[in-house]
Amino acid sequence: MIGLGYTLPAVVSVIVVCVLELAVLRTGLFRTPAYWISMGIVLFFQVLTDGWLTKLSAPIVIYNSEHTSGIRFPWDIPVEDFLFGWALVTGVLLLWERQRVKR
């Protein structure tokens, strides 16, 4: 339950992505309604797919409980997955948008 292996890097990944946008890339993505609507849709589908991957009755991915907060919601999804997924998708969206700014 120390959470060092997953909880900590998941939180750090979110901070890194935020700093990347606010201090380096400055694409303005976070100020667009399209981004937040998209993240809402992505979140909905993440719950479905991630729910399937992490369900404790027949898990595809198995987490070491020593390295997570132990909070699993909804269903059996470790909450860390939402930070991890947000950082992954937002990171790519930022680099996608940056190429629009440049053109």
């Binding site: 998209s38 198995i62 070491n64």
Partner: protein, 115 residues
């Protein structure tokens, strides 16, 4: 059939989001831009994933993966980092296209009422 679960899930994600490329400026239709957006982020997450697997933070149920391995991880996990952001980009592309269409429609209505 069970060992294809993870691969099928990823395939389903690609299939469901595929039509979203036909609206707006598209994602697959800009392969260079897609590659430049994906590569750095995927590289970072692959390193994170490889470390997490090596440190036994998480592992994969052999029952539900193909057994095909790339260095450090199952093939499925590598594909995950490519497939999921593409789905995100396609969603964003479609939302942008939808909002743009709504804006033009509103403009047209405003134009008509002005005349």
């Amino acid at each position: 059939m069970d060992k294809w679960q993870y691969l099928l899930l990823l395939g389903g994600c690609l299939l469901i989001t595929l039509p979203l490329d036909f609206v707006g400026e598209g994602v697959y239709r800009q392969p260079g831009r897609l590659l430049r957006a994906l590569a750095p982020v995927v590289a970072v997450f692959l390193v994170w994933d490889a470390i997490a697997i090596a440190a036994k933070v998480w592992h994969y149920n052999p029952r539900y993966v193909s057994g095909i391995n790339v260095p450090f991880m199952p093939l499925e996990e590598l594909l995950f980092f490519v497939v999921i952001p593409i789905c995100g980009l396609l969603t964003y592309n479609a939302v942008n296209a939808g909002l743009a269409r709504m804006a033009t429609k509103r403009e047209r209505v405003a134009d008509r009422s002005r005349r």
